[in-house]
């Protein structure tokens, strides 16, 4: 290994990312089967799989939240107005002219301003909405069953529709996300980074406008 690589995604992060992506895709397939839009596993299996995967995702999210808090990585998602225009301009114009990325990916700032914004919205809005509505969807009968009248939810209607809205937003995100990972330095560099954790340092930082200049090199991480 040459030392010119940057360790961007740590093991837990990669594990979290990939298991989350598998779970969300699986939830999408089973969810839209329950929704009556597609037929794949069979309705009964789809319900069982969807519920099981939902709990698995919730456990994963719990670990991820803990990890983000414990490592301070949560700061990565705090939206910033800086360079947001530059980043937007890059996707609209610069990318076609082979202009370098306006912001630099580092271990301390691996999200560009647009990513920060989108992921922030995902984490504080879409995920909580879909998880909460999903939990209510699964559990709304329980207060009723135990006679807790005050907690009665009379209809699934609102819950189900909110859950569906969340599902559409997540899928739209995934479509865009899968495309946007090809907009790295090379088409595959982002994917490679999320798989191995390392991004070639040669590709990084030529036009660093990020406020977090420090880089953790391969060497440093291993030491």
């Amino acid at each position: 290994m040459n030392g010119n690589r940057v360790y961007v995604y740590r093991a837990f992060e990669r594990f979290w990312h990939w298991s989350q992506s598998v779970l969300i895709l699986f939830l999408a397939v089973t969810g839209f089967e329950i929704h009556g839009a597609i037929t794949f596993f069979g309705f009964h299996q789809a319900v069982i799989y969807h519920n099981t995967a939902a709990y698995a995702l919730i456990v994963l999210i719990a670990f991820a939240i803990f990890w983000h808090l414990a490592t301070g990585e949560w700061k990565q998602y705090v939206p910033t107005a800086t360079h947001i225009k530059a980043q937007t301009n890059y996707y609209i114009f610069g990318i076609f002219r082979n202009v370098p990325h306006p912001t630099k990916k580092t271990a301390l700032s691996k999200l560009n301003p647009l990513q920060r914004l989108v992921y922030f919205a995902l984490k504080v809005l879409v995920i909580p909405v879909i998880v909460t509505s999903g939990l209510l969807y699964m559990l709304y009968r329980y207060p009723h069953r135990h006679g807790i009248e005050a907690l009665n939810i009379d209809t699934l209607h609102t819950i189900a529709i909110i859950h569906t809205v969340g599902a559409f937003l997540l899928i739209a995100f995934i479509v865009a996300h899968i495309y946007l990972i090809t907009t790295g330095t090379t088409v595959l560099s982002n994917l490679k980074a999320m798989l191995t954790g390392y991004e070639d340092a040669a590709h990084m930082g030529q036009h660093d406008t990020s406020e977090t200049p420090s880089q953790i090199t391969d060497k440093e991480v291993q030491s």
């Binding site: 329950i34 929704h35 009556g36 069979g42 009379d154 189900a160 559409f168 479509v175 865009a176």
Partner: protein, 499 residues
């Protein structure tokens, strides 16, 4: 009971009650009985309080007090109930008595207080030979050996119940659809409980009885949520291994999934058009049958439709019902008059979705007084005004309504009516239940008519679906456009670089 007998009972491994006594050894039964009332006397001489229980039952009284929503406490029974088959029992007691547990019922009246008139044998005969005579006011066929029957009595068998309950409405399976002669000895695929190749249960195994008060009743007459025979008695409210299925039991009755079809063996009547009755050929009444031998037309009754292997319809039901009672007026003629309204909705905590057979009919009504007509149907001879002999609606209506003590304008119209018959029998085996997507489907599911709740797989919000699809399309379009442009630029640049 001798200890030996007890141990013998349990040693056989049967959980069913075994006979405590052998009636054929009782001295009082070793005689030739000339009237059925003598047998009843002999029964009461030992079972010296049972007759008081019987005389409180609705099998005896043909009526019971019920509380009906918005009506109060009413006595409902054959006297004031109206159905959309033969319409009612009034004036037809002689022939209807064939299915009463009493003896000596005539049009002149019946002593509901004379215990000797209890027909013990019709329910307790274990020889399967007892039968009531035709139009004899409930008395048995005179040719029977009553002594032998009296010496072989016991717990009611399927035949005792079925001889009346399978033939309601004047023929096999006419009324219920799920109770018919095939249940005398059904295979397991017809009814998983009663199958002779299975657990071989009899009616009273579920319709448990305490002091001659039998659990379970039908909502063609019943109005209150009480004394019901429920699957949960044995199966509990959460009988599945799967929690998702168990959750259904909060809103869905067992029968809804476990009785996918009824009238599995013989057809049941689904439509009865009284307006077609009275046509004659060469001045004589006639009948037409379908290929299975079901009447499709009878001059005395009108035109019929039948159905076999029917999918039930589904309604919400909380265990209470209200009834059209004789003399009630109807107001809305644009929709069918429902003779027994089953109450319930999604919002009702007590209500569950149940399967029903809906029997639809067109039957006579008085358009001026806006009441259903109870015509006199049966008559011994022509000229008495019985419709089945004279085919004169006005006359038979006039006589029938007079007997009922109700006004009659002299006009006869025909109105649409509906009756709701909960389907509770012909339970299918575990592997033959209704499948998820028969209800959880976007189009034409079994529960398509129940629209007062959100059901996954069936329901969705139109705007959300459209918006969601548009969002996905836009995203895909954006990605493709952006990607193509990138690819195009990259290729051009490479060529440019090469130049």
């Amino acid at each position: 009971m001798p200890l030996q007998a007890i141990s013998h009972c349990f040693a056989s491994g049967s959980k069913k009650p075994c006979k405590a006594v052998e009636h054929d050894r009782f001295a009082i039964l070793q005689q030739k009985f000339s009237t059925p009332q003598e047998i009843t006397g002999a029964c009461i001489s030992c079972h010296n309080h049972r007759h008081t229980e019987v005389m409180q039952s609705n099998h005896w009284n043909w009526e019971r007090e019920e509380y009906i929503q918005a009506r109060g406490i009413v006595s409902i029974g054959k006297k004031n109930a109206v159905n959309n088959f033969c319409i009612g029992a009034m004036g037809n007691e002689q022939s209807c008595a064939k299915c009463h547990i009493g003896l000596g019922m005539t049009a002149d009246g019946f002593s509901f207080t004379d215990a000797k008139n209890i027909d013990c044998l019709v329910c307790h005969d274990n020889t399967e030979t007892y039968a009531k005579g035709q139009e004899m006011g409930g008395a048995p066929d005179p040719a029977l050996d009553l002594g032998n029957i009296a010496r072989h009595v016991g717990r009611p068998q399927r035949a005792n119940c079925g001889v009346c309950h399978f033939y309601g409405g004047g023929g096999n399976n006419v009324k219920h659809g799920d109770l018919e002669q095939a249940l005398f000895e059904p295979q397991r695929d017809v009814d998983v409980h009663m199958g002779i190749d299975g657990v071989n249960m009899v009616c009273v195994d579920c319709h448990t009885t305490e002091k001659h008060n039998i659990a379970g009743k039908l909502y063609s007459l019943s109005s209150m949520n009480r004394n019901r025979a429920m699957c949960e008695q044995c199966h509990t409210a959460t009988p599945h291994d799967d929690d998702v299925l168990n959750e259904h039991t909060l809103k869905v009755a067992c029968q809804t999934c476990h009785i996918p079809v009824y009238a599995k063996v013989n057809a049941t009547k689904t439509h009865w058009d009284w307006a077609q009755a009275g046509k004659l050929r060469d001045g004589k009444p006639y009948e037409e049958d379908d290929k299975d031998g079901n009447h499709t037309y009878l001059s005395i009754k009108g035109r019929f439709e039948w159905g076999k292997n029917l999918e039930p319809e589904y309604v919400w039901f909380n265990g209470t019902a209200s009834h059209y009672l004789l003399g009630d007026t109807y107001s809305d003629t644009t929709r069918p008059i429902v003779l027994n309204t089953l109450h319930g909705s999604y919002d009702d905590d007590e209500a569950k979705i149940i399967p029903v057979k809906v029997h639809r009919a067109i039957q006579p009504a008085d358009p001026v007084n806006r009441t259903l007509i109870m015509p006199k149907l049966y008559a011994d001879v022509e000229g008495e005004g019985g419709f089945w002999k004279d085919f004169d609606w006005k006359r038979s209506s006039e006589i029938g309504m007079k007997a009922a003590g109700l006004p009659f304008s002299g006009q006869v119209a025909f109105v649409k009516t509906e009756m709701y018959w909960p389907v509770n029998h012909m339970v299918s085996a575990k592997g033959a239940t209704v499948q998820c997507t028969e209800c959880h489907t976007r189009k034409d599911g079994r529960l398509a008519s129940l629209t007062d709740f959100y059901m996954p797989g069936r329901d969705y919000s139109g705007p959300v679906e459209t918006g969601g699809a548009a969002l996905l399309l836009l995203t895909v379009f954006g990605v493709v456009a952006h990607g193509s442009l990138r690819a195009f630029v990259a290729v051009r640049r490479r060529k440019g670089g090469a130049r």
